[in-house]
Amino acid sequence: MKAMLAGFAAMIVIGLGAWYVLGEMGFASAERMSGPSVRLD
């Protein structure tokens, strides 16, 4: 049971880590597929 919970916890940590790191690196779709000249409002 500990291994299962640890696996799930690692999954959450990796997921949040991926979101943060890729966001910081500018890999969000909004940044890759858009630019300052695009108006979204």
Partner: protein, 407 residues
């Protein structure tokens, strides 16, 4: 061509019953050679009717644009068009043959009319949804019927009370990270696929929209845990999953699932090896196509893949012409998305069966991944050769690797 390719895949994956239907709508050889002299080479009523009926139309004649040699003089009427006409220009845009220049957006932005998107949309909301859904439901029903007929696979011998370690902590950790991420990815993928059809009408569009935004977030980010766990599991278990002679015995006795015999097996039996290689190969393919989807237009896969398939001649085995190798960036993404979904459906069906046999289907199976400890009676029944190896190791026999030469 998208439809041709998907028909080929469905034939391969879902076999005969679909073949006739797929060929009926997708066979390019069915295109009729039409006499177009009456329209001066333009479309005829017959072309239009065939298109309306969803039949194949040879539209290569519509991809020929202009003739500079027959251009009117520059001072004449229409001379500025250089042998082309306005309809020529529109058809060039329609078939992506116009010389488009864009200041931003690259090759993606040069595609002004992307008609492949319609075939992709129809495939995704048609056959993919239908056959994918039935595959999952059919698997669940088949397992339920199997359970009713066969019942739970019990441990025949009395429990010994002595346990052996089946899986170490790191193995169980990787398994559950893989399992947890796959279930999350599967559910969120199904939400994205079926949300508009089934969730929005019942729980409301607002709820569906919120759920899908969350699903996309989870799907994109949990994917990394899945890929990492997949690599871990591969390296930890690959040596135990190389096919050997015991697998033949296992298959000959149907794995002990039918009847009362329990074929000998090492750490993994042939059925588990099928699961392992399915997870590695299909999960690997899902990962690659998923990476291509995570970084849109950066990692195109299909033009190269189709070139290899064409070189081998695989489409010809099924009576199809060469697959398209000149794909727009959008078509690359559409093929990738379709492939991602098809392989995912197949792997989900396999994993549903795996979850069944690892939980309610077999007594004692869950302990192997739960606590990691299994009773010797269970180990003897399902993995007798592996248990013998363990015992040999405990006794310090040749299998232990710790044997010291006699002095």
């Amino acid at each position: 061509m998208f439809r041709h390719f998907m028909a080929l895949l469905l034939v391969t994956l879902l076999a005969a019953p679909i073949m006739a239907q797929a060929q009926e709508t997708a066979d390019p050889a069915a295109a009729v050679q039409t006499d177009r002299t009456a329209t001066g080479g333009a479309q005829t009523l017959e072309d239009i009717l065939r298109r309306q009926q969803g039949l194949s139309v040879d539209d290569s004649f519509r991809r020929q644009f202009g003739d500079p040699n027959s251009a009117a003089g520059i001072t004449e009427q229409l001379g500025t068009l250089g042998g082309a006409s306005d309809p020529d220009l529109w058809r060039a845009l329609r078939f992506n043959a116009a010389d488009i220049k864009v200041s931003a957006g690259g090759d993606v932005a040069k595609v002004l009319v992307q008609d492949g998107g319609m075939a992709w949309y129809q495939f995704r909301s048609g056959p993919l949804s239908t056959y994918g859904g039935w595959l999952l439901l059919g698997t669940i029903v088949a397992l339920a019927v199997f359970y009713l007929l066969r019942g739970r696979i019990r441990i025949d011998e009395p429990m010994t009370g002595r346990t052996v370690t089946r899986f170490q902590f790191i193995e169980r950790f990787a398994h559950w990270m893989l399992a947890g991420s796959f279930i999350l990815l599967g559910l969120t993928g199904l939400f994205v696929k079926y949300g508009r059809d089934y969730i929005a009408p019942t729980l409301g569009k607002e709820f569906n929209a919120t759920l899908l935004v969350a699903s996309k977030f989870v799907h994109n980010n949990v994917a990394w845990a899945f890929m990492l766990a997949l690599v871990m599991v591969f390296f930890m278990w690959v040596m135990h999953n190389i096919p050997n002679r015991t697998d033949i015995t296992w298959f000959a006795q149907a794995g002990g699932i039918i009847g009362k015999k329990h074929p000998p097996a090492k750490k993994f039996n042939a059925g588990q090896k099928i699961i392992f290689w399915s997870v590695i190969l299909l999960g690997g393919s899902i990962s690659v196509s998923g990476l291509s989807l995570l970084f849109p237009f950066e990692l195109p896969l299909f033009a190269k893949t189709f070139t290899i398939l064409n070189d081998i001649g695989i489409p010809g085995w099924f009576g199809y012409g060469p697959l398209p190798v000149d794909l727009t960036p959008q078509e690359e993404m559409q093929f990738t998305q379709a492939w991602h979904a098809i392989v995912s459906f197949v792997l989900m069906a396999i994993i549903i069966a795996h979850i069944y046999i690892g939980s309610i289907g077999m007594e004692g199976a869950y302990d192997a991944m739960g606590s990691g400890e299994v009773d010797e009676a269970w180990a003897h029944q399902h993995h007798s050769l592996w248990l013998d190896e363990l015992k040999e190791k405990e006794r310090g026999g040749p299998a232990s690797g710790k044997a010291t030469p006699a002095e």
